[in-house]
């Protein structure tokens, strides 16, 4: 349920945001508010994680998994991007 509310609010925000395209002060304030809500949420996430013994005791395993997942995501995107670049973006030598 939470996820649908979040997506709906997100979509509403995009539509409403279009009204503020010319309002630079409003846009700046919104960006500041975004930054601070991210800080707040990460702070709260820190608290919940800190009070969760299971995560604290397994922190090195979690870091290890995170590292390898990053490796997978980066390799996957870069290799596929290489293929797409060669097929669709690379300037054709015959045309130059």
């Amino acid at each position: 349920m939470t996820s649908y509310i979040v997506i709906a609010l997100f979509a509403m925000g995009i539509v409403i945001g279009r009204l503020f395209r010319e309002k630079d002060t409003t846009r700046k304030n919104v960006d500041t508010a975004v930054t601070w809500s991210v800080y707040l949420l990460l702070f709260l996430l820190g608290i919940t994680v800190g009070t969760n013994k299971e995560i604290i005791n397994n922190f090195s395993r979690i870091g290890y998994q995170a590292f390898w997942l990053t490796f997978g995501a980066v390799c996957g995107s870069v290799l596929l991007a290489w293929l797409v670049y060669r097929l669709f973006f690379k300037p054709n030598k015959d045309e130059q």
């Binding site: 939470t2 925000g13 809500s37 997942l69 596929l80």
Partner: protein, 201 residues
């Protein structure tokens, strides 16, 4: 880079305080972060919707540019899915949910910890921060060996802001607009794809 350090600092302060139990009971209420998430997502929406660049960029692009964010989505999801086979304690969908952060660590970690598990949320936080750091450090090498889309691809959602300067520097200004486009599309897709994957679990 500075931004991610500040965010990590907030996380670390919360973490330390949580471990030593210094916070009052009301701060531990789960509903608090749910409401904060509602506010955040609404604000992120407004921020994207009010971005003049976002729609201006769209008009200047031709169709094949859509391939770039699609490449990042497919590459990140398949790469993390393959790696998950080598990792114990993490299944394919969990790995893909982490990969679907596309470098947008704040949003993806908050989402995953709210809707699935805190442990996977922390993995998403670290993994997507690593992704941004790797991009900042490795773009010159990646672009040299894997073509001009490589930096935009590792950058993922961050290609529109934090990693844009490095990408433009090593790929050229003409690719700057593709980087911004790809970053915007991926930023919008992060909550959508993460939610879809969590719904499958």
């Amino acid at each position: 880079m500075k931004g991610s350090l500040i965010i990590l600092a907030f996380f670390a302060v919360g973490l330390a305080g949580g471990i030593f139990n210094v916070f009052p009971e009301w701060l531990l209420n789960e509903d608090l972060s749910t409401y904060a998430l509602f506010v955040l997502m609404f604000l992120v929406g407004i921020s994207i919707g009010s971005d003049k660049n976002a729609f201006y960029v769209l008009r200047k692009l031709n169709f094949k540019v859509v391939l770039v964010p699609m490449t990042v989505v497919l590459g990140s999801l398949s790469g993390t899915a393959i790696i998950s086979a080598l990792l114990s304690n993490i299944n394919v969908l969990e790995a893909m949910a982490v990969g679907a952060g596309f470098g947008y660590y704040s949003l993806s970690s908050i989402f995953i910890s709210q809707m699935y598990s805190q442990e996977l949320g922390v993995i998403a936080l670290l993994s997507n921060i690593f992704r941004e750091i790797i991009t900042l450090l490795a773009v010159p090498i990646l672009v040299k060996y894997f073509g001009k889309l490589a930096g935009i691809a590792t950058g993922g959602a961050t290609a529109m802001d934090t990693t844009l300067p490095v990408i433009v520097k090593f790929t050229g200004k003409d690719y700057g607009i593709i980087a911004i486009f790809s970053g915007i599309v991926l930023t919008i897709l992060v909550p959508v794809i993460v939610t879809l994957i969590i719904e499958l679990m």
